[in-house]
Symmetry: C2
């Protein structure tokens, strides 16, 4: 069954996002996937490197399902979708008790300067994420100031969220990412024309913008 393969992949994804790639051994993965016998692993994967690549893809898939999907809901106002998306990331982090941070960020920090293959794939992952954000900003264009640079703004959003997840992990306090999320929404709201902010920012916080 290709089912087994997925089982291994998910176990690996969990361990790697917690401990990092190098700190996760094949034996750990096999044990954690409720299978036994290392040959099983090498039946489905060529090498640990291949596992790493596929875990990265899988993480992005899941992220796309649970987080990025919100960005494409056609019935919701774009600005509101942005807020929901940020909330989703906070929720995801809260569910894990502040541990584990961003699966991409962790892998990125660990491998970017060590393994060119990983670096390129991580770059692709971030690029796909960024492109989703750009689409949303494009959709929201009528509500935004004319000189908003979607490329720069989407990068800013990703960087801030990644940094927030990292700090949350270090402090083991979900409050960190929550606070940063609030500010990030305010920053995004700053790019919108008056009255187009929707539920992105509570009225009180808008005092600073006006």
């Amino acid at each position: 069954m290709g089912n087994r393969r997925l089982q291994i992949l998910d176990a690996a994804a969990e361990l790697i996002s917690e401990r990092g790639f190098t700190q996760t051994s094949i034996e750990d993965v096999i044990k954690h996937s409720k299978l036994s016998g290392k040959s099983h692993f090498y039946h489905y994967f060529k090498s640990k490197e291949e596992l790493g690549f596929e875990v990265l893809n899988r993480q992005f898939e899941r992220f796309a399902e649970r987080g990025l999907a919100i960005l494409r809901e056609p019935m919701i106002d774009p600005m509101e979708r942005m807020g929901l998306f940020i909330d989703a990331i906070v929720t995801l982090q809260a569910e894990r008790g502040g541990r584990g941070g961003s699966p991409f960020g962790t892998l990125a920090a660990e491998m970017a300067d060590v393994h060119e293959g990983f670096r390129l794939r991580i770059e692709t992952v971030f690029e796909r994420w960024a492109s989703q954000l750009r689409s949303l900003l494009w959709e929201a264009r009528p509500q935004l100031h004319d000189d908003v640079d979607a490329v720069r703004l989407s990068r800013f959003i990703i960087a801030t969220l990644e940094g927030a997840l990292l700090m949350t992990r270090v402090k083991r306090d979900v409050g960190v990412v929550e606070g940063i999320a609030v500010d990030l929404k305010r920053f995004i709201a700053m790019h919108a024309k008056d009255g187009a902010v929707g539920t992105l920012v509570p009225a009180r916080a808008l005092a600073n913008v006006a």
Copy 2:
């Protein structure tokens, strides 16, 4: 000489901030420090773990010298100092050709969930950094809106910078951190009363705020 110790420490700092802790072997460190003989290392350090802790301290020292110092220049307007500080981080990253990212961030992502000792020390490092930013914001209080939350804002600044360094590293493009720095300054300027922005943001960019 305690000089040798520093030599090892600096070699290790460089390697660790590029490759990460686990990917850096004692032999690499010794070779890179132009010494030879592993016993030399163990003459100055109890273990690799101790090396890691001290590298973290040393990185923070250097960062405090070259970056954080700007925050305390008493002759410069606080808001302007903030801008200079952000510029300094961009410059530091540019000097390394986009590689290596933040020394703290790299170590944090790698070790936070693996080694409690590292996590605590990294938490301390971030806290010290945050406290410097808070001091500056306190100094700038007369120029800021009354409801500015210094704790939250300082966390936001650190998170965004850390995320920016990470993405710069992944894309190997210093332009990323440069762009994010511009936006970050605009976000900070948003908290200042009109006319108190100084050189933080070029007049053109302020259009969005007003």
